[in-house]
Symmetry: C2
Subunit: 239 residues, 2 copies
């Protein structure tokens, strides 16, 4: 059976690079980049270009793209959108191309460049994502974007949710994935309640964006499968 492994911080990515070209990578940045990307596609966005710096998004803005930039949890001044999924309404993103820069998520996508497929995962598209992964039957790397290279509770809990759904069809022998499953099983009855203690959620509270948490934890609400290929993200369900 193929394997599932979990990378709990980008700083450990180099330990998992072997055979990357045969693996499906899922990039996970629950609060909020990968959740927001799922919402954007569900609301009709055509393409999302993850870029490293706000200046890069601003440059795309000059060419007619919608520019989205967040740093340290806040929308960068002068940009069309930030990184809150609630900003990405049908009205604002349908038919649009979006240039997006975020603190951790963009970096994780770019690091994964050599993989067989690079998917964008969130609780919202958990079912669609795991169905694809089960059918494709390749080794999986669950890549938690973390927060400035530190371990992050919500990303790891989501990795556990993916592994938990796929446990019957994959070999799970690495400790990080086993721990992620246990954390998810502890959290699943009430994700919002469980994640109240996460440091990132407390960072949210100080930014007055608490309602985002609920928006980021709605499970299996969206039938989208964003895939990062040739430098940009498209919705595979529409390609």
């Amino acid at each position: 059976m193929p394997t599932i492994e979990t990378i709990i911080s980008p700083a450990l990515f180099h330990l998992y690079e072997g055979g990357l070209e045969h693996k499906n990578v899922v990039v996970i940045d629950i609060l909020r980049a990968t959740t927001t990307i799922c919402v954007a596609f569900a609301n009709g966005a055509k393409e999302i270009l993850p870029v490293a710096k706000p200046e890069d998004a601003a440059a795309m803005q000059q060419m007619g793209w919608v520019a989205a930039a967040e740093r340290h949890g806040e929308t960068v001044e002068g940009f069309d959108l930030g990184n809150s999924p609630q900003d990405y309404t049908q009205e604002r993103v349908s038919g649009q191309k979006i240039a997006l820069t975020t603190t951790n998520g963009t970096r994780a996508l770019q690091m994964s460049g050599a993989a067989k497929n690079i998917f964008v995962g969130s609780f919202l598209n958990l079912k669609t994502l795991t169905e694809y992964l089960r059918n494709d039957n390749s080794d999986i790397l669950l890549f938690c974007a973390g927060w400035k290279d530190k371990f992050n509770l919500e990303d790891t809990v989501f990795a556990g949710a993916v592994a938990n759904r796929l446990a019957e069809s994959f070999t799970i022998s690495d400790d990080a994935t086993l721990a992620a499953i246990d954390l998810y099983q502890k959290a699943e009855t009430d994700l919002t309640e469980y994640l109240q203690k996460a440091s990132h959620v407390n960072r949210f509270k100080s930014l007055h964006i608490e309602t985002d948490l609920e928006a980021c934890l709605k499970t299996n609400t969206l039938n989208v499968l964003p895939v990062f290929r040739n430098g940009s993200i498209q919705n595979q369900n529409h390609v």
Copy 2:
């Protein structure tokens, strides 16, 4: 209140180095280096010198030290002792100075050099260790030695055991420590049973050293507090 943070891999150590001189570091390598060090002191060892390479231990052997070396879980040929706690009997270590090299534990000790105190933690001396940490009332870094820089279930569960005992006297806001506590609480009713799934335990099984697992998980059996200072380890309870 002082804080507790958990470093789940040596590859993340650099994220926690700030203010290290004011922090108590606990180096954790449950299977088996830090467990073995506790047993050695309980059985009367005078001093343990952690060294980087088997050659270094061999050099000390020429000077009358007991030489202990393990690589990839096995005793190196020609050495007096390996890294199994069951080897460190009173008969073999009482009154002795021991030069010890291990895969992950030695490295973590040496990385922590600048800390206020560097303690050696294991389930065996959990009570003695946590009593000291509570009284000393300084910030704590729980440093999991891991396995070749990967996340490691038994070390993280032990970090959770320490944090769980100290939760009332310390602020715990980092996600890694919160996760470690949840994993410990899941494991504590039967540590041996819980850790059967750990990848390191399965590595043990393939090396036919299963009985070591039980020896490494005996909780609060030893009243020792090994401390790493000026390059070597002594038992603080005897200094």
